[in-house]
Structures are given as structure tokens and as C-alpha cells.
């Protein structure tokens, strides 16, 4: 029903070549190269200020890159206006036109493009139906809940049938339950639309559950690109290792868990409290979560390590001295200077 490219060009791979965006002295995006395949669901993940939104906006055309080239399909789009890029954008704030009805909001991109009234109405009806908005078509955005507004923003994006969807933290204004529901809806939409999605989030759960691939960003640079499982299983740096996974990966100082000048990492579920072997640590907190217990240990002044344990096990108590170990096959090794993965 929403076959793409009806009003656009329809070729939707994205290629970024050495893209930088500087705001004065601040390098928001620094020499980023990234290939996003046609119909891929690419997540740009990172903490706030890492440049992920700027990168997305560069793809959408809302920012001009300071350097580098942006390709959509085989077309270099650096000098192409946002409206001519065949890209739709969903904003964190929804950015609905408050004085227009839901129907008028959804129809608006088509109206601007001079599509005739009947075709517009039909497209708006279809988009509204897909997103369950039919009963609200005559309301103003102000009379809708946050989740409904977000769906109107999605409807306004899909009605144009663009080849690329850019989404900038679209779920961050929703409550937890609604967020989970809408997450599933967006994934379903991706399957249905067969379009390329570029999705910005700082929420690793969204990244892990929605994306076909994740690009983890930090300080304007992409630290790692890979499938969610790859990024989890083989983090390319200490930063990625600690950003992905809750609780984050434990990083043991060089020379403590095994000889050598590298840092050793272990996921909390792989870290065990051993009797005789391992790194000495002091228990500082035991948190009971019901299905598991998390034991927080201080390895030294700066290093904390978390161990996930079965709540029915015998749990250590605050102040206990324990030894922490990670099975050799579950260990991750990182360069102690650069933080990059070494194995």
C-alpha cells in the first residue's frame, strides 16, 4: 500500500564520505564515513552531545556539512534542499502545525507538492488508518495525547512515501509503556514501508531492539558500526563496552585479572564471585531486583564492578571482601591507552 518512491526517487542507500560539521570551534561531527544500505534500519546511538543528531540532520539536509559528501542513492545531495532529498523527518518535539487539524497536518506535505485534493485525502486516510488515527482526523494536535501526536508525526512522514526516514529521538517524550508500544509500531512500519530508516537515540534498549545495525558515536566520531549482537558481543572500545549493556561491562585495570598491559572487560553476567582466584574487591552495595541481585564491588578507588547473581544464592554483604573473576573465553581486552579492542 505504501510502496515507496511514489512522489520521490525511490533509491535509498545512504553514503557519508568524510562528513564533518563544525559549529565554531566545536566539532559536532568529525570526519565520519558510513554506508547505510537500502532498506536498512540504522541506529545512531550515543550519549547527548556526541553528534548523532547533527549527523542525522546533515543527512536530512537541515545542516550543511562543513566538509565531506552525503550521497542518497547515487546522487550527491550536499547542495540539494531538504524537500528535494526524498527524506522525511520525525522530530523529537513532533513539530506538528498546532493550528491545523490532524488531517491537514498529514496532508500538508502533499499539498505543498501540489497533489490534488482527492488523492491527498485518500493518502491521508490510508496513513491515518495504518497508525490508528482515523477517529482523530478532525482534531487539532493540542487535543491529542503525546503518543497520538507522535503517530500524527509518523503519518505525516509516511504519507509522502519517501525513500528515507530520519527520526530524531522520536520516543523520548513518551512514557515507558507507550514507548515500548510505539517502538514495536515503528519496527512494523519499517517492514511495511520497505524504506531506509535512520534513527537517532541515546537509549540502548531502543538501539538493540529496533536496529538492523547500530553506529555508536562519541565526540563526533563513530566508534563502532555493527549489528546489535556484534556490538554487544565484541565492543570495539571501552566506551562502547560500557555504553551498551545494562549494567555496563566491568573493566578491570591492567595487570589485575591477567598479566599484561591491557585492560580486561567482563559483562556483569559473566563476572563471578570466586573463592580463591581473581581480583580482590570490597562489596559496597547489594541491589535486589527481584529476578536477580546486583552486587556492586569496589576494585579500587576508581573502579567499580557489578556482578549479577541469582537472588536465591548466598549473597555477600556490604563490606565483605570478595574475589572477582571472569572466565577466559568471556574476557574482552582493550588497549589501556586508547581503549580500543586488542583481540
Amino acid at each position: 500500500m505504501f510502496s515507496r518512491g511514489k512522489y520521490g526517487r525511490g533509491v535509498a542507500s545512504i553514503r557519508l564520505v568524510g562528513v564533518s560539521k563544525h559549529f565554531g570551534d566545536v566539532k559536532a561531527v568529525d570526519n565520519v564515513s558510513l554506508d547505510i544500505a537500502d532498506r536498512e534500519f540504522m541506529i545512531l546511538l550515543g550519549p547527548s552531545g556526541c553528534g548523532k543528531s547533527t549527523l542525522l540532520r546533515t543527512i536530512a539536509g537541515l545542516e550543511d556539512p562543513t566538509a565531506g559528501e552525503v550521497f542518497i542513492g547515487d546522487r550527491m545531495v550536499n547542495d540539494v534542499l531538504p524537500k528535494d532529498r526524498d527524506v522525511a523527518m520525525v522530530f523529537q518535539s513532533y513539530a506538528l502545525y498546532p493550528h491545523k487539524s490532524v488531517r491537514a497536518n498529514i496532508e500538508f506535505p502533499l499539498k505543498v507538492r501540489g497533489i490534488d485534493k482527492t488523492e491527498r485525502a485518500e493518502a491521508a486516510n490510508q496513513a491515518a488508518e495504518v497508525l490508528g488515527l482515523t477517529p482523530y482526523l478532525d482534531r487539532k494536535p493540542g487535543a491529542l495525547s503525546g503518543g497520538q501526536r507522535q503517530r500524527v508525526a509518523l503519518a505525516r512522514a509516511i504519507v509522502r512515501r519517501p525513500a528515507v526516514f530520519c527520526m530524531d529521538e522520536p520516543l523520548s517524550n513518551l512514557d515507558a509503556k507507550l514507548r515500548a508500544e510505539t517502538r514495536a509500531e515503528i519496527v512494523a512500519l519499517h517492514h511495511r514501508l520497505e524504506a531506509t530508516f535512520v534513527y537517532v537515540t541515546h537509549d540502548q534498549v531502543e538501539a538493540m531492539t529496533m536496529g538492523t545495525r547500530i553506529a555508536v558515536m562519541r565526540d563526533g566520531v563513530i566508534e563502532q558500526v555493527g549489528s546489535p549482537q556484534e556490538v554487544y558481543d565484541k565492543p570495539a572500545s571501552v566506551f562502547v563496552a560500557q555504553f551498551i549493556g545494562t549494567p555496563p561491562m566491568n573493566i578491570f585495570p591492567a595487570g589485575t585479572l591477567e598479566p599484561g598491559a591491557h585492560l580486561v572487560g567482563g559483562r556483569p553476567e559473566d563476572t563471578t564471585i570466586a573463592r580463591d582466584q581473581g581480583v580482590a574487591a570490597t562489596v559496597v552495595l547489594v541491589e535486589h531486583l527481584g529476578h536477580e541481585a546486583q552486587v556492586v564491588c569496589a576494585v579500587d578507588d576508581q573502579t567499580r564492578a557489578i556482578v549479577r547473581m541469582n537472588p536465591s544464592d548466598v549473597l555477600p554483604r556490604n563490606g565483605d571482601t570478595v574475589r572477582l573473576n571472569v572466565p577466559v573465553e568471556a574476557r574482552h581486552r582493550f588497549d589501556s591507552a586508547s581503549g580500543a579492542r586488542v583481540d
Binding site: G61, P82, K83, V87, A95, P98, H99, V112, P141, A143
Partner: protein, 276 residues
């Protein structure tokens, strides 16, 4: 609660008393004008505050002798022209100062605002000479053109344009709108309450102009209502209340505009309150 109520009642009593005094001060001239305009000319000076006799003759005389119909028409033409152009020029300039990027923007805006510091009286003579040299004395353009743009309107609208979220502008540019489209489809509809207020303000200011029309009209035909009332005063000495009647007639259109616009204003305000 009972303890509180005494000082509260005392305070609000004082407040109401003050309000009543102020209302009397404001309403008194209006009251005397209405009373005087409805009395026969020879009874005006006797018991001027008491409505002891009633006639519509003076209002009729004012209308016919004073050519008020012609003056009202002139005023209406000028006020509508001024209002329409002030809205257009304010929207355009405020939009530029809010949404466009151009060199020396802040400098130009400061220059714009600086014109607010210059009272109209300072420019009166030079404007009079300019209008004269253009051959615009006794013309509508002479009456209206010096007032077609207003720094106040620019400032007011810029402030509300700046409140429009940047995302909305970006969403519009993704949707394919250029600056004209965004102005027409989004920015202007969103600031309608302010436009209503500005329009009302412009209309009132233009309608109540006295000095400028007096300076540039020498032909009776081109008098506006305010400058025309002056002639009414000098026209008939044994009807001292003729000018009162003229004033009442001059105020009627402005009352109508106020009532109509007020409704618009309220509607605009409630629509603006529902934010997306």
C-alpha cells in the same frame, strides 16, 4: 478563616473604592459629552450634568452641517490603508528579523528599534515638506503614507515569531515550504491574536490622528473626522454642543471596530492557547 475575612474585606473595599474613583474620572467626560449632545443647544449650559431634556436634533445638525459623512469616509479610507499596510510591512520585516539569516541583522534591527525613540513630532515638519514636494497635500496618500510602516509592529511581531519552535520551521522545510510558504501557512496563522491586537492598535492610532491631518489638509473635502471636528467648533457659536454631538458620531465607528475585533481577539487567543 473568620479572622482572615475582616482585613481581606477591608482591603478589597479600599480597592473597589479606588477603582470607582478612577472609573468616575474616566467616565465623567464621556458622560457629559453624551448628555450635552442629546440636549437642545440653548439648554446645554443650564444644569450641564442633568439630562433634563432630550433631542436628536443636535446630532442631526452636526451630521449635516459638519459634513461628518465625508470626514468619516476619509478617516475610514486612511485608517484601513494604514492598518493593512502596517500589518503587511510588520509581518514582512519581523519575519526577516526572526527567520532569515543575513549580514548585520542585529545592527539593522537596532536601527529599526532606534526609530521608536524619535517622537513623531520631531519628524513632523520634514514629513510635511516631503509630502508637499510630492504634491500630496490634500490626498489620501499624503494622509496615509508616512504611517505605512511601524517599528513597534515589527518589534511586537518579531517577539512572537521568535516563540515559534525551530522544529516547526524545519518540519516545514522538509515538507517543502519555502520562506513565503512558511510565513503564509504557519507563521502568520500562529500569531493571529497578536496580529489582531496590532491591527486594532494601528486602526485606533490612525483614526485618532489629529495633528498630521490638520497640517496637510487645506481643502475641506480631505479632512478626516478628527481634523473635521475642529471646523465644527468654529462653525456655529449658538450651538455649543454641536462639537459634542460630532465627537459622539466620531466615536461610533471606533466602538463598532472594537466590538468586532474584540471577538476576533478572544477567538484568536483561545486558538493560540492550544499548543501542539
Amino acid at each position: 478563616m473568620a479572622l482572615d475575612s475582616t482585613p481581606k474585606g477591608w482591603r478589597s473595599g479600599v480597592r473597589y473604592a479606588l477603582l470607582i474613583v478612577m472609573a468616575v474620572i474616566i467616565l465623567f467626560p464621556i458622560y457629559t459629552t453624551i448628555i450635552a449632545s442629546l440636549k437642545p443647544g440653548n439648554r446645554v449650559l443650564r444644569n450641564p450634568l442633568v439630562p433634563d431634556s432630550f433631542t436628536l436634533d443636535v446630532l442631526g445638525d452636526a451630521w449635516t452641517q459638519g459634513r461628518l459623512g465625508r470626514y468619516l469616509w476619509n478617516s475610514a479610507v486612511v485608517a484601513v490603508l494604514v492598518t493593512a499596510f502596517q500589518l503587511i510591512t510588520s509581518i514582512a520585516s519581523a519575519y526577516a528579523f526572526s527567520f532569515l539569516r543575513f549580514p548585520l541583522k542585529r545592527f539593522f534591527f537596532a536601527i529599526f528599534m532606534a526609530t521608536l525613540l524619535v517622537p513623531f513630532e520631531v519628524t513632523l515638519l520634514i514629513n510635511r515638506r516631503t509630502v508637499d514636494s510630492l504634491g500630496w497635500l490634500n490626498t489620501y496618500q499624503g494622509l496615509a503614507v508616512p504611517f505605512l510602516a511601524t517599528a513597534f509592529g515589527t518589534f511586537l511581531l518579531r517577539q512572537v515569531f521568535m516563540q515559534i519552535p525551530k522544529d516547526l520551521n524545519e518540519a516545514a522545510s522538509m515538507d517543502g515550504l519555502g520562506h513565503w510558504g512558511f510565513m503564509r501557512e504557519v507563521a502568520v496563522p500562529l500569531v493571529r491574536p497578536t496580529l489582531g491586537a496590532l491591527g486594532l492598535f494601528s486602526f485606533l492610532a490612525s483614526w485618532n490622528q489629529y495633528l498630521w491631518p490638520t497640517m496637510i489638509t487645506t481643502e475641506d473635502d480631505m479632512n478626516t473626522i478628527q481634523s473635521g471636528l475642529r471646523l465644527l467648533r468654529s462653525s456655529d457659536l449658538d450651538k455649543p454642543n454641536l462639537i459634542m454631538a460630532g465627537t459622539i458620531i466620531a466615536a461610533v465607528p471606533i466602538l463598532v471596530v472594537l466590538v468586532v475585533f474584540q471577538r476576533q481577539l478572544v477567538r484568536g487567543l483561545t486558538a493560540g492557547a492550544v499548543k501542539g
